[in-house]
Amino acid sequence: MTAAVMATTLSEYLQTADWAFLPLDAVWADAAAAVVHITLLAIFFGLPAFVFIWAERKVSGRIQDRLGPTRVGGKFGWLQSLADGVKLIQKEDLWPKAADAMLFRVAPYLVVVASFAAFLVLPFSSDWVALALDAGLFVALALLSLEVLGIILAGYSSGSKWSLFGGMREAAQMVSYEVPLGITAVIPVAIAGTMNLGEIGSMQSGWFINWFLLRDPFTFLAFFVFFTVTLASNKRAPFDLAEAESELVGGFHTEYSGMRWSFFFLAEYASMWFVSALAAILFLGGWWTGIGPLDAWVAETLGGFTANILGFVVLVTKASVLVVVQIWIRWTLPRLRIDQVMMTCLKYLVPISCFLFLATVLWSLFLPHVACFGLAKGMGERTAVMAAAPRAGDLSAVDAPAVDSVASFSPSGEGRR
């Protein structure tokens, strides 16, 4: 585990390569690799916020038939976010007298750290991941769920009833929506037989009919449920009750100003992008273009590194499209009432996601080879991979028939091949 934190490959390279200061000691190489990775992740954490805050303004402008920002940075106003940032940094950092100062100051950092940490386990392309955990998806959801603590503390420590109500609403909403979020996220896991995001992504290579979205009717529906739930768990409209201006002024961040206020937004946009990327990996083929031969051609002729860059671009595009859809929804649909938000979750989304989960599992149990288009890849193949390449020390003592029996036990029996 710790080895993975330190980005093994880069560290190994620094220890073996031979130019300038290199090779480095193991400790320094590890540290350098960690710094490089953290910097990369931090850039990638900040970038979505930077871009999407501008995009939100532009898109909302278009939807409302106006121009949006135009002044800063040329015709499109693309430097608007930067200008905002500069303005926010300059602002005075103040907190109300009634606030619990320590918690008030810490809360935004908690939110940012939680949503930043989630990027640790997100693969940007095949094998481009800081932390390739078997339980990657689970860890990602766990880290995302920490955001709620920051928000609740922010709401409580502000010493204002608007903030308190906003914080409590938000907490109730996020905690409830974690349930359908978890269940719908488990659907691709059940098909893939792994929680490793990298492996889930790899299984959807080839033509786009291999995407889990198109695997069977239930996964198709599951994607939309997942997307809806991510809207709510990111407190995006129409579920943005925590900061409903008409009722609660600004919700949990009513009392915040300057950089601390912007941290909440940084985190919000970053996790918007994060869940969209998650949706892309789980349902939309991750970093694969959806045109099998193209991926193969790039990998063969231009090499693995270029293929990875292509994958990276593809994933970012897919996720960004989803984010734009989120923005689009925000400016289209009216806000729900808080009781409606909770009812949507508990009375509709939870049962629906449970049903979809059961249906998907039964489908892959009884119709393992049938998908909407062509043959399904799924548990059978996964089990076969597992059985064929077990860990050296673990299954070495097992005789060959035993390994075979893992495969034959799998419902599809596909592994026998």
Binding site: M1, A98, D100, L133, D134, A135, V139, A142, A171
Partner: protein, 204 residues
């Protein structure tokens, strides 16, 4: 590096725990508790128990403590309730606590754990380090082994071993705990929901 991480996580966990004891404000206590539990999750990651660490984050930090903070908010009479402790009580508690910790710590340290597990291993089984996970040893990917264990099959214990009996799998607790959670949910919902109008009239 490992030492550094251990000092970081372990130190934060310890400081957080101490702060929980010393803090006078309930919500701050909850905050320190979060810090402490979160760092403990970090320790779990270091110990190669990534799934347990994630569970700790998801259920403990993201669920249980949120519940506790909710409880604080719903039962707070003032905006920031603080609890005052008498100084004498603090002194007594710290002395007793230090003594208790000393005894516990010294006893635990006195044990020669290496010799202990060496004896057990020579008698009963091979090293446990080799058994965890299907992937490379140092990645600590325990999700699959844990999943199999919850379904009752201990591939990590039994595979390739010459045994007659199956090692203990945890199918029963895994299933029965759902009944427990259901019962607890019903009980908690009963206690927490508002009294019905009928009973209120009767009481008054």
């Amino acid at each position: 590096m490992e030492t550094l991480l251990f000092v970081l996580f372990g130190g934060t966990a310890a400081v957080g725990a101490l702060a929980v004891v010393l803090s006078q404000n309930v919500v701050r206590m909850a905050f320190y508790l979060v810090i402490s539990l979160g760092s403990t999750a970090g320790l779990f990651f270091m110990l190669g128990a990534d799934f347990v660490g994630a569970t700790q984050l998801l259920i403990y930090v993201g669920g249980t403590v949120v519940l506790l903070i909710f409880g604080v908010m719903l039962t707070a009479s003032g905006p920031f309730i603080t609890i005052k402790t008498a100084p004498s009580q603090v002194i007594i508690a710290s002395v007793v606590g230090l003594a208790f910790f000393g005894v516990l710590f010294l006893t635990v340290l006195q044990v020669d754990w290496n010799a202990n597990s060496a004896r057990l291993e020579s008698e009963y089984s091979a090293s446990s380090l080799e058994r965890i996970g299907y992937n490379e040893a140092n990645v600590g990917n325990t999700a699959r082994s844990l999943g199999a264990a919850f379904l009752g099959a201990r591939f990590d214990e039994d595979l390739g071993r010459d045994r007659k009996e199956l090692s203990s799998g945890y199918l029963l607790p895994f299933e029965i705990i759902s009944v427990h959670l259901l019962v607890v949910l019903v009980g908690a919902a009963y206690l927490a929901r508002a009294k019905r109008r009928v009973t209120r009239i009767e009481e008054e």
